[in-house]
Symmetry: C2
Subunit: 260 residues, 2 copies
C-alpha cells in the first residue's frame, strides 16, 4: 500500500480539476489534465489518484458518432418505434452490446451487456455535453488501455504516474438514482480485500472485498457534476495497492451472477 | 442548496472520526460522535455531513442478538443444513425479511428484501466487530429515525444539526466487490436531480438523478475501513439540499424493478 498521511485521523481530499477546454479527437488528455491541475494551484503529487469522466476520454479518442451515418436494422426500427425512441440510437446500442439483459418496449428500457462486459442502459451511449444535436458518444473501446495511456501522458510531463479511474454514470438494480462506476482502471488494484484481516475484536474477517475503484468513482461524481465543467477529480490521501489495474476483476462472471 | 466553499475549484474533505469507545445499548451516540470530533481537533461546523456506519447505531439501539435465544424453523434448518450454515442465523435472516429475492443452497446465497426494503445478503445481519462469538447484529429497526435522533443529539451539544447518513456494506448485481450504501438518511435529500438543468453545451439534461446519499456512503467507506476503529466519517464541503430526508426515495418500487 502507498503511505497514508501523518494526521492522527484518516483524511481524504477530493478536488475538481477545472479549466480544461473542449476536448477533441487526438488531444493529449493526460498532459492537458496535468497542466490544468498545475494552473489551478493543485499540481499532481505522488499518491494522488485521478478520476476522469468517460465523456472526455471518448472525445479524445474520436468516439463521437453522427447518427446520420447509422442505418438501423429492422429489429432496431421495430423496437424504436414501439418504445418511441430514435432507431439510429437503438441500432448503435445493439452494435455496442454483446447481449441484451432487459428489453422492455413499453417502458423504453434497453439494458445490455456492453462488449467490455458492463451492464448498463443503452450500452453507455449518451448525448449530453456534446455540441451537435445529432451526435452521440460511445464508450472508449478499451477503457483500461485509455487509463494506462492517460497515466503515461501525465508521467511524461510531471514525472508522476498516478492511478487513473475512468468513470461513467450507471443505474443500479433495486435502487433509484444513478451513481458513478469505474469503467477503466490503471495503476491500482480496483478491489481492496479485507479477507484474512482482523476486525477490531481480533476476529478474522472472511467475506468482505470492497470495490474501491467504484467508491473512488462515486466520490468523484460529487465534484464532477454533470452540468458543471469539471470533468476530472483528484483524490489525495487515499492509500491504494499499486497494480497494473483492470476493470476485469470488477465484473462478475456470468456463471456467478444471479441477476441477469 | 447549502453554500459551496469559496475556492476556485470544488473541494470535498472526508475525515475519519477516531477515539470512540465500544458502543453499548442506550449510549447517546450523537453526543459521543460530537465529542470525539471535538477531541481530535475537527469540531463539527455548519455544512458538515456525517456518515455513521450501521454497526455502532445498532449497538446503541440494542440490536445485538444472542444466537442461543433463537429457535430455527424447519425451513431454516433444512436450508442451513444444505448450505452448511448456522440454522439460527438463517432463522434470524428470515425473520428480518419480507421477501426472498434469491436463495441458493448450493452456493450458500440468501439474498432477501429486509422489512425496510433493502435488498442485500443475509438481511444485513453480520458478525464482525462484535466481542462475543455467538452474538450477531441486526440492522436498526428504523434507520431514518436513528439518523434523525443522532442529528438531534449532536445539535443538543454543538448547536449544529448535521445531515446524517447511516451506511452499510452490500454487494451489487453484476459487479464484484461490496460498497457502502445509505440505509438511513436525515437532514438532506438523498437524491440530487439534474433533470431540467443545462449541460455544458446548454442542452437540457432530462434523465439523470444521482443517489448522492449512496455516494456519500461510498466515500465514507474509504476511511471507515472495517478493520480499523473509525466508525464515522465527516464530509466537509459537499453542498446538499436540506430536507427531512428518508431512504424511501432510494428504494425502487417493486413494480418498476426489473431485477428481482
Amino acid at each position: 500500500m502507498t503511505e497514508p498521511q501523518s494526521l492522527p485521523y484518516p483524511s481524504i481530499n477530493a478536488v475538481g480539476i477545472t479549466g480544461l477546454p473542449e476536448i477533441h479527437d487526438g488531444d493529449n488528455l493526460g498532459r492537458m489534465i496535468a497542466e490544468a491541475a498545475q494552473n489551478q494551484g493543485t499540481p499532481l503529487i505522488e499518491g494522488d489518484i485521478l478520476v476522469v469522466t468517460q465523456k472526455i476520454v471518448s472525445k479524445a479518442e474520436g468516439m463521437l458518432v453522427s447518427l446520420d451515418t447509422v442505418t438501423p436494422s429492422q429489429f432496431a426500427r421495430e423496437y424504436a418505434e414501439n418504445a418511441d425512441r430514435d432507431p439510429r440510437l437503438i441500432e448503435l446500442v445493439l452494435r455496442e452490446s454483446k447481449s441484451i439483459v432487459r428489453m422492455d418496449q413499453d417502458r423504453g428500457v434497453l439494458i445490455t451487456e456492453t462488449k467490455h462486459g458492463f451492464i448498463c442502459a443503452n450500452a453507455g451511449i449518451d448525448q449530453s455535453n456534446i455540441p451537435d444535436e445529432d451526435v452521440v458518444c460511445l464508450l472508449p473501446i478499451d477503457p483500461d488501455a485509455s487509463a494506462r495511456r492517460i497515466s503515461a501522458e501525465i508521467n511524461a510531463v510531471t514525472g508522476v504516474a498516478p492511478p487513473i479511474i475512468i468513470s461513467d454514470t450507471f443505474g443500479r438494480a433495486w435502487r433509484e438514482g444513478h451513481v458513478n462506476f469505474a469503467i477503466g482502471v490503471a495503476g491500482m488494484d480496483p478491489l481492496k480485500d479485507y479477507r484474512g484481516t482482523d476486525d477490531a475484536n481480533g476476529r478474522i474477517l472472511h467475506v468482505t472485498t470492497i470495490a474501491v475503484a467504484d467508491e473512488l468513482a462515486a466520490t468523484a461524481e460529487m465534484i464532477t457534476a454533470k452540468a458543471i465543467n469539471v470533468p476530472v477529480a483528484l483524490i489525495r490521501g487515499m492509500p491504494y495497492q499499486p497494480d497494473v489495474g483492470s476493470t476485469a476483476s470488477l465484473l462478475r462472471d456470468r456463471t456467478r451472477d444471479m441477476f441477469r
